[in-house]
């Protein structure tokens, strides 16, 4: 048994469909732009032709004509609203961008943050961590080939180390709090619950906001302190070609810093440091009348830069601690064994021995304070 009301409504629906098609074709016939060929791919089994898709003619004449055909059609108003043309919208409510009715760029920002940066960035961090862990598992800590001599050379002055560790500590605070903000909701929140996670995030956000400007100061100091020894020098190209001897057994000779350290200095600490600092300032101080779109763009740059920075830092931290024996002691105490210097930085070792490195030749204060350690 078929319900008669069902039949009636089906007939009414078909009739309405027919009327709308006739109406649509009539309005398209009146449209001043010629319609391109009808899209046949989407025609369904009911054989109803789909009206052709024409780019809407938005000239004043066409708009006026549309108002004649469709009185009170306010599509032009909404088109104007979405275009965000300056000066078309006003409001009496005081505030930044209160006259903007719709800001569609936020949708793009949402997609970039939630679907691109967090997904690709997150997996990049995980994959690099696994690669480094595997590398450590296979190769272990790179030890010296010869026994240490017991004679030490000053590699990093107290200023070098102060700047390095200030940068490192602020970087770690920023990285951890940044990771909490980007991935905490997916990773940490299910584990520790809403209240504790929110508390942690508040702490992280405030630390991030205050450590950020300090970090950019550190980046500046780092640049001017270490730039002298980071210009391209002899052996750099060979070092890159041999990948620093990580794959092969032989490590090519290098100056005070090898090509890998130089790349980290220029591309990481300096370039990424400046990129995340500048974009960070835009986000950290919302009181300079910057627009929402400026902050959306700054956030995208900031988070991409930060993920790259963390990827580089993972490599740097690994080589400076677990990866290579003696590297951590160098930055902790400032001194390296002569054998370490000879094996890893042969050109620098030769320079020091020949007395061509003034700081290392004489810094009595440091020598007095730090006991010689093998």
């Amino acid at each position: 048994m078929v319900d008669s009301s069902l039949v009636r409504s089906a007939v009414a629906l078909l009739a309405a469909l027919l009327v709308s098609i006739v109406g649509a074709s009539a309005s398209f016939a009146q449209a001043p732009t010629p319609a391109p060929s009808a899209d046949s791919s989407s025609s369904s089994s009911t054989q109803i032709p789909t009206p052709p898709r024409t780019p809407e003619n938005t000239s004043p004449a066409a708009e006026a004509q549309r108002q004649q055909v469709q009185p009170l059609n306010n599509a032009p108003v909404w088109r104007e609203v979405r275009s965000n043309m300056p000066g078309t919208t006003t409001t009496t409510v005081v505030g930044r961008e209160t006259n903007v009715l719709i800001q569609p760029q936020g949708q793009t920002w949402r997609t970039l943050r939630n679907s691109d940066i967090s997904v690709f960035g997150g997996w990049a961090l995980v994959v690099l961590f696994l690669v480094i862990a595997t590398f450590y598992w296979v190769k272990g800590t790179l030890a010296l080939h010869e026994p240490p001599t017991g004679r030490v050379i000053l590699r990093f002055t107290w200023l070098d180390r102060f700047i390095h560790w200030s940068t490192a500590i602020t970087f770690s605070i920023l990285a951890i709090s940044g990771l909490i903000m980007l991935f905490g909701k997916a990773v940490l929140l299910p584990l520790i619950g809403y209240t504790l996670f929110s508390w942690l995030a508040v702490l992280g956000k405030n630390l991030h906001n205050f450590a950020g400007p300090l970090f950019s100061l550190c980046v500046l100091m780092l640049f001017f302190n270490f730039v002298r020894d980071n210009f391209p020098g002899p052996g750099d190209w060979q070092w890159i070609r041999h990948f620093g001897g990580l794959i092969s057994k032989h490590e090519p000779p290098s100056g005070r810093f090898n090509a890998g350290e130089k790349l980290w200095f220029w591309g990481g600490a300096s370039m990424l440091g400046i990129i995340v600092s500048m974009s960070g300032y835009v986000l950290d101080f919302p009181n300079f009348d910057q627009s929402r779109q400026t902050m959306q763009i700054a956030h995208v740059i900031h988070s991409i830069g930060a993920v790259l920075f963390m990827l580089g830092a993972m490599g740097h931290i690994y080589m400076g601690t677990l990866g290579m024996a003696g590297a951590y002691d160098a930055m902790r105490t400032g001194y390296v064994d002569e054998e370490w210097a000879r094996e890893h930085h042969a050109y620098w070792y030769n320079d020091v021995k020949a007395g061509r490195v003034p700081v290392q030749a004489a810094d009595p204060r440091v020598v007095r304070r730090t006991p010689a350690k093998a």
Partner: protein
């Protein structure tokens, strides 16, 4: 269960900002924050329209999607609310929202953001309905009292409608149908056309010859 929605009829809004005031008054909104605002498009130009905008209580809410602490939740009636105890003031919801609904009272130097504040559809927050704590953080919970949002209830021209989406759609559909019937030359001009005249072929309004006859009492739209 009803699905709560706001709808602003641009043909009716006269930019009186009554909704803005009603909202501030009803909810004791923090200083510097306007949960609702009226935006005028092409102010002073023929064809100008005003629209009252606040949180649209989106089905796929961008604020909810980007919040790093997941402080947003959606009621069974589709109202998007948030928990100020969890909010960290990062501003991500403000970046994501197309309508500029989330706002931050400034709580420190250099524009440090406080807890986000936005329209609650007069539905309060996670605290017990009608409690002083809820009022202090989110404003009046009118929905729990069986009332609709103050802005829509106060609207003098009934341009701003708030309530069950099905009911709102029916009202608006009825209005549009009646307007279409009145849009022909044979009928007296309506709404903006009654004030400024019908647009001619160039879109410029032609002033009406005589004031239109007042509508019959009790007629809608």
């Amino acid at each position: 269960m009803a699905r709560m929605k706001f709808l602003c009829d641009a043909e009716r809004c006269i930019e009186c900002n009554g909704c803005v005031t009603a909202c501030k008054q009803e909810n004791d909104v923090p200083w510097g924050v306007n949960r609702r605002r009226v935006v005028t498009i092409n102010d002073g130009v023929p064809g100008e329209r005003s629209i009252s905008v606040a949180c649209m209580h989106c089905s796929d809410a961008p604020c909810m999607a980007v919040c790093p602490v997941d402080c947003f939740y959606k009621t069974q009636e589709g109202v998007v609310l948030h928990d100020k105890d969890l909010c960290i003031g990062c501003g991500y919801c403000f970046y994501a929202c197309p309508f500029g609904a989330p706002q931050f009272p400034q709580t420190g130097a250099f524009g440090v953001r406080g807890k986000m504040d936005k329209c609650t559809f007069c539905a309060g927050g996670p605290e017990p309905d009608g409690s002083p704590e809820e009022f202090a953080k989110y404003g009046r919970n009118r929905l729990s009292e069986g009332k609709l949002p103050a802005c829509a209830e106060m609207c003098s021209t009934k341009a701003l409608l708030g309530g069950d989406a099905d009911v709102l759609s029916d009202i608006y559909r009825q209005r549009v149908t009646m307007r279409a019937a009145r849009g022909t030359a044979a009928t007296p001009p309506w709404g903006w056309d009654a004030a400024y005249g019908r647009p001619d072929a160039q879109g410029q309004p032609v002033p009406n010859a005589a004031p239109p006859a007042p509508a019959a009492p009790g007629s809608k739209s």
